[in-house]
Amino acid sequence: MEGGFETGFLLGHMNYWLFVILMMTGFYIVVARGNLLKKIVGLNIFQAAVFMLYISVGKISGATAPIITGNPDEVYSNPLPHVLILTAIVVGIATTALGLALIVRINESYGTIEEDEIQQHDLEQYDKDCARAEEAR
């Protein structure tokens, strides 16, 4: 696969291309958006992309769900990555819940959830600290 791309390679790895696109979309939202809520949404998309990567890894073409049927010729998908990603989904939900709870608290004490406005408030606070320090001197 080291020498150039062909159609088969492109189409055969469709899941992985989608993973890359989804991951970069989420990552971009986290970095570029100033709204704390939108950042959390971006983080969710970013994590969902990883779920897709793991699920694609376990898929075997023409295979069924991993249930014992007694038929030795049965081809079934690898359940391990799917189980792993269940754990990661739980972690993702916990992170989202905690992030949202923090946003509520930030909104209560700052009155905004825009990053630049919060930074503005923090800078004002820092100036006040400097003034207090100056008094002490």
Binding site: V57, Y110, D122
Partner: protein
């Protein structure tokens, strides 16, 4: 089987399990005093168990614990060698020392209705850090990492009663920490694609047999970058100053002394034990990307510390520069360098723990962490101020302190690798450390106390933990045999491919079909 034998057999599991179970028990009791007692008991138990395991593996053995009796590589395995037994000791001893201090400090800094919650989150964070260190299963590392990280975000946010900036700091930490963890899990996914295994020893075997390919290389990159975010490697350190400054003092001390150390251990484990440094790509990444960043961190962190207004921010930036020293030792890729990294892991945990606790004691009395507000405290709080001087000397690397031992071994490693400019950089950045430590000393001792402020020394329950760590950082500066020897065993274990292969002592139930 007597109870002692059973505890001995299941020590690797119990070290992690006891603090984990203590968290829900604390919530069930819902009483502040009971919560403290349970947390302290669980933390001490973990400390004793990890001490026992360190004694077992100190000579270079390996303990392999099969969870539920399922044999690896299919079953989940806890694998303890000299390297992670050493890190387990750092985490559990710091936690046990910080808890008695936390009781008063938290009563002052955290709203009363959150006290039980604090102890529960603290124990969960502790569980996560121990689990990351003890496990031999790559996906387990991720799960425990997230257990510790999620509870850390809560712990940092608890500082909001003192300063609302704790909330935005916790949020920043949550975003960056999650990105780091997700990068790590992408790396694990690729590693699983390439090897079909999650057991670290087994992955290492498969990788050693097969040829390296792009999947493995990108897995390496994702894992290293993800963990670098977690341990705040220089350009990825943005979350650290805020989180350490606005978290409650006891939390800052605990995190600064343990969380970054555990993340560095994970990187070490993956670079040396799982991937191995035989491949050109891995060696080049470490030597040409991580080493320059470590050197930049040493200078940038110290410089930022020099201009910090808040004493906790100062210590946080100093941590970034000290992480640079640890990383530098590791990136020299020789046995002495790795020893230097491990020694500094331990010494810096003691030093920074003592310093954050001491600054927390000043906040407890004066209510301010700003450096100019500490004027004249040298006479009003003599014991706390003296411990800041000791900690500061250890940060600089003055002889007869723990920091000196680390820098001594690091310089030896630099000369051994034939890179004398590195040794010059270490000395130069220590000079900047003199500047920021002097700022603290000058304010404490040479400036007069403001009119009308009369504060007294903090109570014994806070002073004893501070001095336990301060004295330890002198002790391990004078008698460095234990730390250097343990680090050397750990370093050699890591360089030899780590985890010791076939002849591990198997513990726990065996032979499940």
């Amino acid at each position: 089987m007597t109870i002692f034998e059973a505890v001995h057999q299941h020590a690797p599991m119990l070290t992690v399990l006891v603090p984990m179970l203590s968290a829900p028990i604390i919530m069930l009791f819902g009483n502040r005093q009971a919560a403290f007692a349970i947390a302290l008991t669980a933390s001490t138990t973990s400390f004793l168990l990890s001490l026992q395991m360190l004694l077992l593996v100190a000579q270079g053995g390996v303990i392999s614990y099969h969870i539920g009796g399922w044999a690896p590589p299919l079953g989940i395995e806890y694998r303890i060698d000299a390297a992670n037994a050493f890190v387990l000791i750092i985490v559990s001893s710091i936690s046990t020392v910080v808890l008695p201090y936390a009781r008063r400090s938290i009563a002052d800094e955290v709203a009363a209705r959150h006290h039980t919650l604090f102890y529960a989150c603290y124990m969960l964070c502790f569980t996560g850090l121990l689990g990351v260190t003890a496990t031999g299963d790559a996906f387990n590392v991720f799960v425990f990492l997230e257990i510790s990280s999620l509870s850390t975000y809560v712990l940092v946010a608890l500082g909001a009663k003192q300063d609302r900036r704790a909330l935005s700091a916790a949020y920043d930490y949550l975003i960056l920490g999650t990105i780091g963890a997700t990068f790590f899990v992408i790396g694990l996914g690729m590693l699983y694609m390439a090897t079909g295994s999650l057991n670290m020893v087994h992955i290492a075997q498969v990788l050693a047999e097969g040829e390296s390919n792009r999947t493995v290389r990108s897995a390496f990159t994702f894992i290293v970058v993800g963990m670098a975010l977690k341990f705040a490697m220089y350009p990825l350190h943005r979350w650290l100053p805020g989180a350490y400054t606005y978290a409650p003092s006891a939390v800052s001390a605990f995190l600064a002394a343990t969380a970054t150390k555990v993340a560095i251990y994970v990187v070490l484990r993956f670079i040396f034990s799982v991937f191995g440094i035989a491949e050109e790509f891995e060696r080049n990444t470490v030597q040409y990307i991580m080493m320059p960043l470590a050197v930049v961190a040493m200078f940038a962190g110290s410089l930022m510390a020099t201009f910090s207004l808040n004493a906790k921010t100062l210590l946080a930036y100093s941590s970034i520069s000290q992480i640079g020293y640890m990383l530098l030792g590791i990136t020299l890729l020789n046995s002495t360098g790795l020893t230097a990294g491990m020694v500094h892991l331990f010494n810096h945990a003691l030093t920074k723990g003592a310093l954050f606790l001491a600054v927390g004691a000043i906040i407890y009395r004066t209510g301010s962490a700003l450096v100019p507000h500490m004027a004249g405290l040298g006479r009003q709080m003599p014991w706390t101020s003296a411990s800041i001087v000791i900690g500061g000397l250890s940060l600089i690397g003055a002889p007869a302190t723990a920091g000196f031992v680390s820098k001594w071994v690091l310089m030896q490693a630099a000369f051994e690798a034939g890179m004398w400019p590195i040794a010059v950089f270490v000395v130069l950045s220590s000079v900047i450390a003199v500047v920021y430590v002097w700022r603290l000393v000058e304010v404490l001792y040479l400036q007069p106390a403001p009119e009308g402020r009369s504060v007294s020394e903090v109570p014994m329950t806070m002073l004893v933990p501070i001095w336990a760590l301060a004295l330890a950082s002198i002790w391990f500066g004078i008698d460095a045999d234990f730390t250097v020897q343990a680090s050397r065993t750990a370093a050699e274990a890591l360089l030899a491919g780590g985890f010791g292969g076939e002849d591990a002592t198997i513990m726990g139930t065996r032979g499940r079909p």
